[in-house]
């Protein structure tokens, strides 16, 4: 086993995802402490420039038409081969849509410990120590991996991206394994319909979550938003239920917003939602649960009933 760290980068639509840089930055710090290298691994087709955009100590770019779009089966096969060849101390994935298809899968495939939802990471006496954010963000579990190599799933935004941005030449190779006969075939990308407003361009947002209770109550939120000259946004459960269009969804699988005002009604602040709004300039949260994680992120908060406050605000505006 080497003291190297393989960082499996992610890219979409010709752009390297920030998580790649966040992981590389952290990997460099850890690898240096272990006397090894942080190696950025990029899979793709015609993606060499992306592969060389990180500050990793070394970079590998695997080029094959079958890797043009993310494909968990194809990517998985290549990564298994690379890990078995390099035997790194750690293989890092994003705890993201792409990374979550691969990390735990790899850990079973090659018999390595997996640490998921990681937002803090270190090595002590040759053992990987990681803090995982679990139970909807309500608990941080600091754990020590058994000896040997480890697969890690890193939360987006856990580490700074600028530490991983730079320029390192990549060794370009073809796939180390045959990618014929894949059972998984990428068909096409599906993009959200236009026509609705772009909430990322709004200065003021009133966001509604599960606390609103029912679809009928959304009208109250719309009235409040109108009075504040704001647009209505929502957490995932609201758009999943069809109470507001998907284009209004803020969060990990929705959009990231940075408005001047983010007024939140009945949203607990689960990690997936926080990811989409934690950088808003003024966050005011209304939630009857004093222990809701959102109060760790909001600038102002109240445990008053959201209906009472919304009605009172409408009266006063």
């Amino acid at each position: 086993m080497s003291n190297d760290i393989l960082v499996i980068t992610e890219h979409l639509d010709g752009k390297m995802a920030d998580i790649s840089y966040e992981m590389v930055g952290k990997a460099k710090e850890l690898a240096a402490a272990m006397g090894g290298q942080a190696i950025a691994v990029t899979l793709g087709s015609g993606a060499a420039p992306l592969a060389e955009s990180t500050a990793a100590d070394a970079a590998i770019y695997v080029d094959d038409p079958a890797l043009a779009e993310f494909n968990p089966e194809a990517y998985g096969k290549v990564i298994v081969a690379l890990v078995q060849e390099k035997i790194p101390k750690m293989t890092m994935f994003g705890n993201t849509s792409m990374g979550m298809d691969l990390a735990a899968w790899l850990s079973v495939k090659i018999g390595q410990t997996c640490l998921a939802y990681v937002n803090d990471l270190g090595v002590e006496d040759g053992k990987v120590v990681a803090t995982s954010q679990i139970y909807g963000g309500k608990m941080a579990a600091k754990a020590e991996a058994e000896g040997g190599s480890v697969v890690v799933g890193v939360l987006a935004g856990a580490f700074p991206a600028d530490a991983g941005q730079g320029s390192t030449a990549a060794e370009q190779i073809g796939s180390p394994v045959s990618l014929d006969g894949l059972k998984t075939k990428f068909v096409k990308m599906i993009r959200p319909e236009g026509g609705d407003i772009d909430i990322t361009a709004q200065d003021k947002l009133v966001a509604v979550g599960r606390g609103i209770g029912s679809q009928d109550n959304i009208e109250l939120v719309e009235e409040l938003a109108e009075a504040l000259e704001a647009a209505v946004a929502a957490s995932r459960p609201i758009t999943d239920a069809g109470w507001l269009p998907k284009t209004r969804q803020v969060g990990k699988s929705g959009v990231a917003v940075k408005p001047k005002l983010y007024l939140m009604l009945g949203i607990s602040g689960a990690p997936e939602h926080l990811e989409g709004m934690k950088d808003a300039e003024l966050i005011i949260a209304i939630n009857t649960d004093a222990g809701a994680p959102i109060f760790d992120v909001a600038h102002y908060g109240t445990t008053c009933d959201l209906f009472d406050v919304a009605e009172a605000m409408l009266d006063q505006l």
Binding site: W105, T113, D308
Partner: protein, 256 residues
């Protein structure tokens, strides 16, 4: 088509979570357990596939705290055909690796065409069930899926979510495991009367397991509420006073 749903019972996040004396895990005597919310979607998606394309839906879970029956009866009331519980000398707090191993051993004998699992669970410290099942069963996996169509037992079309509302469509030769983020329709409710009826008449198949299986491969030194960098300034008062203060704060910023 043989559709299998692998479910997971997890601590409920609604109430305050209590820690054990050592501070290394939850106090499982004090927490309520509930069906993983993403598994509600898996069950719904499975029944939708059956309704569209025919077949049978089998729901299987590890009976960690001997309270799985109600969840299984509810699944039957929603349209599942068969329910199975894996029983043994189990403790709550079982690693996801262990649960995935137990589930895979039960599921491989079912010869499924498609296996659905919730994309993730709140206690997945050592990884998610779905991808681990796929690795054990040696079949393809796609997770964060918001739509599954399988018109026959040969191919499934799934839509995988990325951020910003962007999705990727894949065609996969079956069998496969799907990690369900959301069913293509909100999960249906089962009338209590129907659940009670199932409780009276339905059979739950039991699979008994002695073996330990793999563990998490890591040990928790300390579990605690995360230390946050800050906390919101809480606004006191009744709703009128709170509303007034909020408006004032917004005006002070020149936003109104």
């Amino acid at each position: 088509m043989n559709i299998v749903v692998a479910i997971k019972q997890i601590p409920s996040l609604i109430d305050e979570l209590e820690l054990n004396g050592a501070g290394t895990d939850l106090d499982f005597d004090e927490v309520d357990f509930t069906l993983n919310e993403f598994d509600e979607h898996s069950i719904e998606q499975a029944v939708l596939i059956k309704e569209a394309s025919g077949g049978t839906v089998t729901v299987v879970g590890v009976d960690l705290i001997e309270e799985l029956d109600n969840i299984l009866h509810t699944a039957l009331a929603k349209g599942a055909d068969k329910v199975v519980k894996i029983v043994g000398d189990f403790e709550p707090g079982m690693a996801s690796h262990t649960q995935a191993w137990l589930l895979a051993n039960a599921i491989k004998d079912m010869a499924p065409d498609i296996v659905l699992a919730g994309v993730q669970a709140a206690d997945d410290r050592d990884g998610q069930i779905g991808p681990m099942l796929a690795a054990h069963l040696d079949v393809p996996y796609i997770g964060v899926v918001a739509d599954v169509a399988a018109t026959d037992s040969r191919t499934a079309t799934v839509k995988k979510e990325y951020s910003g509302g962007v999705m990727a469509e894949f065609e996969v030769s079956l069998p496969m495991v799907v990690g369900v983020q959301a069913a293509s329709q909100p999960p249906r409710y089962a009338p209590v009367s129907k659940i009670r009826q199932m409780a009276k008449t339905a059979e739950i198949e039991e699979i008994e397991v002695d073996d330990d299986g793999p563990g998490a491969g890591s040990t928790v030194r300390k579990m605690s509420p995360p230390v946050s960098a800050g906390h919101a300034e809480m606004i006191e008062g009744d709703s009128e006073e709170v509303a007034e203060k909020i408006i004032e704060i917004i005006r002070e910023r020149g936003l109104l």
